[in-house]
């Protein structure tokens, strides 16, 4: 018998036994530590910034080129938008009186529908640093963490006060948010201007869908506004989510469409949203 081969085989068996033991540890840990998984998250919180820093160092030419292409594309879009806005401005200037009336009516309607809010919350402005969309999970990282006051359960809105995601994990200097498309998203909603309540469920790549429990007969029409409700005691009420596209699908804002968000600071005690 070849002793070298035997020793090599023995080493392979020892390695297999060690990794097998680690599998058993993971399975027990999954049962015991559910649902917080503190050890897992502390390992990830330690190594993610290190791996990202090394990755940034190694991949800057690729990412730099990508950013330049994206900016050129954005500039082209902005030029088009500027032209459109100029045309709109000249029209609005021509009929300013109508604009003022429309603005007043718009503010009045927004107040009546319960959309215009935010004044009660302090906010933290954060940049989206990493889009982690993968299969049916859509999460993203922001560059603010617990050191800045970001806590699990807080919500992120766009600068147009539109819901973007919910903080599901906060490290000291970064936080991970779950986008509304994520298949684990399940939030309480309300039809703006009515007392129809329901839940919105993420579907991965397809638009999130809503189901109503307060009025099963309710048929959402295209363009109806959907806002958050605090019926489950998790999210603050009245944050604008999006418009109904068809029977039950809602057009929501994706983190890929924006680069910055505002985190609304509120008391998350007892908030177990994950």
């Amino acid at each position: 018998m070849n002793p070298k081969k035997l020793s090599s085989r023995l080493h392979a068996l020892i390695r297999a036994a060690l990794v097998g033991g680690f599998v058993s540890f993971l399975v027990i840990y999954m049962i015991v530590a559910r649902p917080e998984y503190r050890l897992f998250y502390s390992v990830v919180h330690t190594f993610t910034p290190v791996a990202e820093a090394i990755g940034d160092l190694l991949t800057w030419p690729v990412r730099g080129t990508g950013k330049i292409i994206k900016r050129i594309h954005n500039i082209a879009k902005l030029e088009k938008e500027i032209e459109e806005l100029r045309a709109k401005l000249s029209t609005a200037n021509a009929n300013r009186q109508e604009c003022d009336v429309a603005l007043y009516e718009n503010q009045k309607l927004a107040r009546e529908l319960g959309i215009a809010r935010q004044s009660g919350f302090a906010t933290i402005i954060a940049d989206i640093i990493h889009d982690k969309t993968a299969l049916h999970h859509e999460t993203f990282l922001i560059n603010r963490g617990t050191d800045d006051g970001v806590l699990t359960g807080m919500v992120a809105v766009s600068f147009e006060n539109r819901l973007v995601g919910i903080v599901i994990d906060a490290s000291s200097n970064f936080a991970r948010l779950r986008a509304l498309n994520d298949s684990d998203t399940n939030i309480a909603i309300r039809i703006a201007g009515s007392e129809v309540y329901g839940f919105m469920h993420g579907n991965g790549l397809m638009d999130p869908t809503i189901g109503f429990f307060s009025d099963h007969q309710f048929q959402g029409t295209q363009g109806t506004n959907v806002i958050t409700s605090n019926i489950s005691g998790v999210l603050p009420s009245g944050i604008y989510i999006g418009k109904i596209k068809n029977d039950s699908a809602v057009d929501v804002l994706s983190p890929a469409d924006i680069s910055r968000v505002m985190i609304l600071k509120f008391n998350t005690t007892g908030n177990k949203y994950r």
Partner: protein
């Protein structure tokens, strides 16, 4: 001096490649840095490198974090590793196409486990597309790692 540098570079290359592929995650083409599983698989099962297994386990954690899953990548990797080392019927080090078919089985299992959590047409297409893209990148990336070895 230069020779030593090149030697160390190619020794570290699979590690660096893993970090790069994980960092260059983009939706559709490399969701969650899934392409990083290629050097991890090749350097753990087909052409084993020292210290690559603990490194791979760590990156499986990071991939689990990216995918929003709890230990699916880590568990599948560890189970696959334990099974491949505990028996001597299947020897992946001598398989055709540098273990492409073994990789497809591994990847197929993981993607199925993740995709089954939310089944709809678009998610299914996304799963198939991710599987196809990752498998298509397997041979070129393996050739790149082998190029350094030679």
């Amino acid at each position: 001096m230069m020779h030593n540098f090149i030697k160390y570079f190619w020794t570290a290359f699979p590690f660096l490649l893993t970090v790069m592929l994980w960092r260059l995650s983009v939706p559709w083409l490399n969701p969650g840095g899934i392409l990083a599983i290629i050097p991890m698989f090749y350097c753990s099962f087909i052409s084993a490198r020292p210290y690559f297994v603990p490194f791979s386990i760590l990156f499986c954690f990071l991939m689990d974090y990216s995918f929003g899953t709890v230990f699916i990548w880590t568990l599948c990797y560890c189970v696959y590793y334990a099974v491949m080392n505990i028996q001597n019927v299947i020897d992946l080090t001598h398989t055709k196409e540098n273990g492409l078919f073994a990789f497809m089985v591994f990847l197929g299992i993981v993607i199925s486990l993740i995709s089954v959590q939310s089944i709809n047409l678009l998610n299914f297409i996304s799963g198939v597309l991710t599987f196809s893209i990752t498998c298509a990148f397997y041979i070129p990336l393996v050739r790149l790692i082998q190029g350094g070895q030679k």
